[in-house]
């Protein structure tokens, strides 16, 4: 295996492991922060940093140099990404519908509802993409 291939695989494995952890950090961080008011700028920035880094990892090959990036962004990755975005959309819609029903019985502010849907829409693709990539890498040995 060439050095580029090895470096590409290392990045792919690292990304596959990191994404579900990022999603969990995002959900936990958001749950913790949603209970405390008012929020500091630092709190908001830390959540935003997690969102941006997770989004960057899902949507791009990061800041890798040319050949390595093409390797990390090849066709199977693109397919996993498309599926992950579909999962995110379905999860967000399901979450919104669930909240609509739940709001009939439990009081829920518009702010809370929006936050839950957004977190679902962001975290679900991260988990899905990471899981698909990890599975494909495991299968490849």
């Amino acid at each position: 295996m060439t050095e580029t291939q090895q470096a590409g695989e290392r990045f792919l494995r690292w990304r596959a492991r990191l994404l579900p952890l990022t999603a969990i950090a995002l959900i936990v961080g958001n749950a913790v922060l949603s209970g405390s008011a008012p929020r500091s700028v630092q709190d908001v920035l830390s959540v935003l940093a997690v969102v941006v880094s997770g989004f960057t990892l899902v949507m791009t090959g990061g800041l890798l140099p040319g050949r390595l990036r093409r390797l990390a962004e090849d066709e199977s990755t693109a397919q996993h990404r498309a599926m992950a975005l579909r999962v995110g959309y379905i999860a967000a819609v399901a979450c919104a519908l669930g909240q609509y029903v739940a709001a009939l019985f439990v009081p829920l502010s518009a702010h809370q509802a929006l936050q839950i849907v957004l977190m679902t829409a962001i975290a679900a693709p991260m988990i899905s993409f990471g899981a698909q990539e990890a599975q494909a890498l495991r299968d490849a040995g």
Binding site: M1, T2, L12, S76, T77
Partner: protein, 69 residues
């Protein structure tokens, strides 16, 4: 009805004595992509199919066929 694709990439690759990593390197894709193509998990684009055929020195029809043909 969706036609099923039969993939002969593994046979063509092993016939040329290449590993998945070597083929991946020649085609400029990851080993994960080659493995998913070979296992039929992933249907490659026309571009990748043609690229694999070129790298393996065969016609694309020798690598991919519709089931039952």
């Amino acid at each position: 009805m969706q036609a099923r694709l039969v993939c002969h990439v593994r046979a063509a690759r092993t016939a040329r004595g290449l590993t998945q990593a070597e083929l991946a390197d020649l085609a400029g894709v990851s080993r994960k992509t080659i493995n998913t193509v070979e296992n039929g998990v992933f249907v490659p684009s026309t571009t990748l199919a043609l690229l694999l055929a070129r790298v393996l020195g065969v016609a694309v029809e020798e690598l991919f066929a519709l089931a039952g043909e």
